[in-house]
Amino acid sequence: MGTRRSAQIMDAEEIERAITRIAHEIIEKNRGCENLLIVGIRTRGAHLAQRLVDRIEAIEGRKVPLGILDITLYRDDLSSVATQPIVRRTELPGSVVERTVVLVDDVLYTGRTVRAAMDEIIDFGRPRAIQLAALIDRGHRELPIRPDFVGKNVPTSHREQVLVLMQEQDGEDKVAVEEVLT
């Protein structure tokens, strides 16, 4: 690997504020949290989803059900990767039928992960609606997908990488953009 240029774009406090704002926006858009199901995409999306559930509970006093999605089996690039990625469990509490599902991911980029996640959700039944929340939207969509809730828009180039670190997994909360300068 060559040298890297790294720039922090969000610290722990900014991430917390973004999550709080998204929680308020979810409640506002859905006029409360009736019939909501928050579903995080493994792995960091799941941590974000958990935090959103906690935040919504703090605001509304009600616990919204939480699901975790592993989209490995729905990827569109499996034939081009050399070995099969590890499959982890998908866990959805109860039915998705007639619920409003809020998908949560850390970084929205090409939109292919979200496509896979929507396909998987629909295999569990017909939700009333699917909404999308992402901590970072870095652009460069390859599919007609747009988020409903965004923590921060970060214009990037393809050569750059967006790193989201989360306390639960990485020991700290931080978002950085890295560029490999070979």
């Binding site: 592993d70 729905y74 990827r75 990767v81 070995t83 992960t113």
Partner: protein, 326 residues
């Protein structure tokens, strides 16, 4: 983490890490069978041939369901309907299948080593669904998964395998799998059906069930296979039941939380009494459920391309660690 080989020929060839990977993956796949739509699109466009040159219902159905739940296209051939009855050799049959661009062959054959032969001569992934008296690896894996589910571990688990060890590919795969996972394995059966030197596989031999039934966590009862025994190796059915049959009375000498397993189909009232087969200690139906999940895991992992042909690249590492395209 990945499998060393694209084929699954036997548990003898697998390391403990690979066995754990398959079991962990099977646990994730179990959830798919409980969904409203019991299907994931992961193997869309892949073609799998089930070549069953020996009678089988359970294993064949289990493989077919696993393949369909992964969205693969499948064809099943049984010898009665195939060119084998016209004298076609296994190699010719397989070459012809290969020429039709298939991705995987699941093979059951009465000749030990038939899957290895195919793996050597064809450019497709080969899964052994039971070869002669050699191995039945997916059965061994589903047995390991059922034990791990129940006890939460395999290490240190006491298991006795009862019956015709010599002719049992189920026993052989199970012994390889359990010893690799550091379980403590014993075998018990009529002396002519215990292979000489089996101790070298790391197992103990009991002459009578009473020797140690009070010590083990699992009693694994094999099917008495009249169809596979030539000559007079076994005394009469009644004699066998008296000496080695697992019934209520023998079970009373076992640990309170002992578990009874059987690969099926059961000769009820012979190797296993009906009240024990259907009783609270039996996890025989869990084995069947786990069979589909284990086969999904094996097919999924084996369809990941030829591991031996690629060098360890960064990209594969990231694919393996679950990096997504955004």
């Amino acid at each position: 983490m990945r499998l060393e080989s694209r084929h699954l020929l036997g548990l003898e060839d697998l390391g403990p890490d690979e066995i754990s990977l398959i079991l962990d993956t099977a646990e994730s796949f179990r959830e798919v069978s409980e969904r409203e739509i019991r299907k994931v699109p992961v193997l869309r466009g892949k073609t799998i041939v089930n070549y069953f040159a020996e009678p089988s219902t359970r294993t064949r159905v289990s493989f077919e369901l696993a393949e369909k739940r992964l969205s693969a296209d499948t064809v099943s051939i049984t010898t009665a309907g195939s060119s084998a009855v016209k004298g076609e050799t296994l190699r010719d049959a397989a070459r012809n299948l290969e020429a039709m661009h298939i991705d995987m062959i699941v093979i059951r054959h009465r000749a030990s080593g038939a899957p290895h032969f195919l793996a050597k001569h064809l450019d497709v992934a080969v899964i052994n669904a039971g070869d002669g008296c050699h191995e039945h690896p997916t059965q061994g894996l589903l047995d390991l998964l059922s034990m791990r589910d129940h006890f939460g571990r395999l290490e240190g688990l006491g298991v006795v395998i009862v019956g015709d060890i010599a002719h049992s590919r189920v026993a052989r795969s199970l012994i390889w799998g359990l010893t690799k996972m550091n379980a403590e394995v014993s075998v018990c059966g009529p002396a002519p059906l215990i292979p000489l030197g089996i101790e070298e596989m790391g197992v103990r031999v009991w002459d009578r069930l009473e020797d140690g039934i009070g010590e083990v966590d699992v009693v694994y009862v094999l099917r008495l296979q009249f169809e596979r025994q030539q000559g007079v190796l076994v005394p009469s059915g009644r004699e066998y039941r008296r000496l080695f049959g697992v019934d209520r009375e023998r079970l009373d000498r076992a640990k309170k939380d002992v578990v009874i397993m059987h690969p099926g189909p059961i000769n009820r009232g012979l190797e296993l009494s009906p009240d024990v087969a259907d009783g609270p200690h039996s996890i025989i139906l869990n084995q069947v459920t786990n069979g589909v999940a284990v086969r999904m895991a094996v097919i999924y992992l084996a369809s990941g391309g030829d591991g031996s042909r690629e060098s360890g690249s960064e990209e594969r590492q990231s694919a393996g660690s679950g990096q997504r395209p955004g």
